[in-house]
Amino acid sequence: MKNANMNDANIKNESTYFERYNDMTHVLGRIFTTIVLVMLVGAPFLIGKILGAMPDLKATAKGFLSVGIIWTVSSIVEFLVYTPMLGAGGSYLAFITGNLINMKIPCAVNARDTVGAKSGTPENEIISTLSIATSSLVTVLVLALGVLLLQPLQPVLQSQVLQPAFANVVAALFGAMAYKYFRGNMDIAAIPLTFLCLLFIFVPSLTSSTSFMIIPGGGLAILISWLKFKKRNA
């Protein structure tokens, strides 16, 4: 009886400790996230002061309307899906340090599987924070070392021969992503792609505002996807 009471007391103490820890995690997470947000949004203005050219706010607003909306929706989805997986500490860190899908999420899941922690438990909260903090520090370290090693290569990177490579960095990205996204989804991609090709062929001037064409292209793809979804679930 005495032992049972002591166990209950221990569990209660642990639970109170964890609640206190979690509350402080939220306080620190909010403070640090706010500071980093201010730093990230403020940096372009600080750089603008140094370069003598402040950002063009009108162009920023137009750019946000064309491509920012998509990433806003994507961020909301990521927040809703990944926050419960990562817990408080892990999610604050993950949203600050980025590279979620390609690194932080698989890393945290791998860590959790390694020790067999269950989602939503205090153990998972600790494991996921340890995992994401470690992963972020490794990225910071690898990139810092890489950037240091890149310094002697600057004349090579800025040579005229390599300029076509850097001028086509966006095409290189979309080639890779096109294969990844179109593969297995051509029934959804074919119509928007054909429609957009015809649009760019008959109105060539539209190439200077490609980002705005994401809206009709994406809208059409969503419509087709919705019809397909409805048909399957009918």
């Binding site: 947000l37 899908i101 903090a133 979309f174 969503i222 919705w226």
Partner: protein, 270 residues
């Protein structure tokens, strides 16, 4: 300002100081969270060995993807200098996102492409601001909703169900789950489609300065070669990953394909 001098400005010491300072601050946050979590684990009676295993396995797990991210810094360094891509890819960003937003911002400031040849200081600061604003929403939501959302989730015991809802590009055929994931994938298909179509349209009807016009095929064909090369490279990476069971190559698939595509641009422009 010539492309060389703008890159000199973008690679100058003050920019390294600003970007390096923010990265260092984020590294300090990670150390604080790491130490707090470790101490809390000990206080709650967790096995030290388990926690050390988590730290070691997470560190080793992250090395290869980090090298892939470094390739992304190299890819963006030719147009945005080294410090800014270093910051964006060390903190908050991801290569595919950063490149797309940078290109959209470049369009808005009147650049025909994201390259140092056309870059101006104002174009750079505008691109940098748009990159910061577009992907800050995960952080904004965290500040305002993280605590309440987690409380609600743990209260309704739906955490386990949410955990399976990961976002994958090829899950449109998955009958389970709602329409949200499918809509996101479709949106990305539209996004990628818009750019690929612009390269096709640009080649078929572009090149007005070279006597081009509708269906004259005088436009720039290099982006199409680049798209084809990087798509083929991505196909090869996926083949290695899926058929040869070399899952680790996934870490390099985007950055590696981009490097192949960019190399193709150099070769066809010689």
């Amino acid at each position: 300002m010539s492309s060389f001098s703008i890159l000199q400005a973008l690679n100058s010491a003050p920019l390294y100081l600003i970007c390096g300072g923010i990265i260092a601050f984020v590294a300090v946050i990670c150390v604080i969270f790491l130490i707090r979590a470790y101490r809390a684990g000990i206080a709650m009676g967790m096995d030290k060995g388990k926690m050390k295993t988590v730290i070691t396995s997470s560190a080793t797990f992250s090395i290869l993807p980090s090298v892939g991210i470094l390739l992304g810094v190299i890819a963006l360094s030719g147009s945005l200098g080294i410090p800014w891509p270093w910051l964006r890819l060390s903190v908050i960003g991801a290569l595919h996102y950063e490149t797309q937003v940078a290109q959209a911002a470049a369009e808005q400031v009147g650049l025909s492409s994201l390259s140092a040849a056309e870059m101006t200081p104002q174009a750079f600061t505008t691109i940098a601001l748009l990159m910061s604003i577009c992907i800050m929403w995960g952080m904004v939501l965290s500040v305002f909703l993280n605590k309440g959302y987690l409380k609600k989730i743990s209260g309704s015991k739906k955490g386990e169900a949410k955990e399976t809802a990961t976002f994958k590009p090829n899950d449109l055929d998955n009958k389970k789950g709602g329409f949200a994931d499918k809509a996101m994938t479709a949106m990305f298909i539209g996004l990628v489609g818009a750019y690929v179509a612009s390269y096709i349209g640009g080649f078929v009807s572009g090149g007005a300065q070279n006597g081009g016009g509708i269906f004259r095929f005088r436009g720039d064909w290099v982006p199409l070669v680049v798209v084809a090369a990087s798509a083929l490279s991505m196909a090869f990476f996926i083949w290695l990953s899926e058929k040869k069971k070399l899952a680790w190559v996934d870490n390099f698939s985007i950055a590696g394909s981009m490097i192949v595509g960019m190399a193709a641009a150099v070769v066809v422009s010689l």
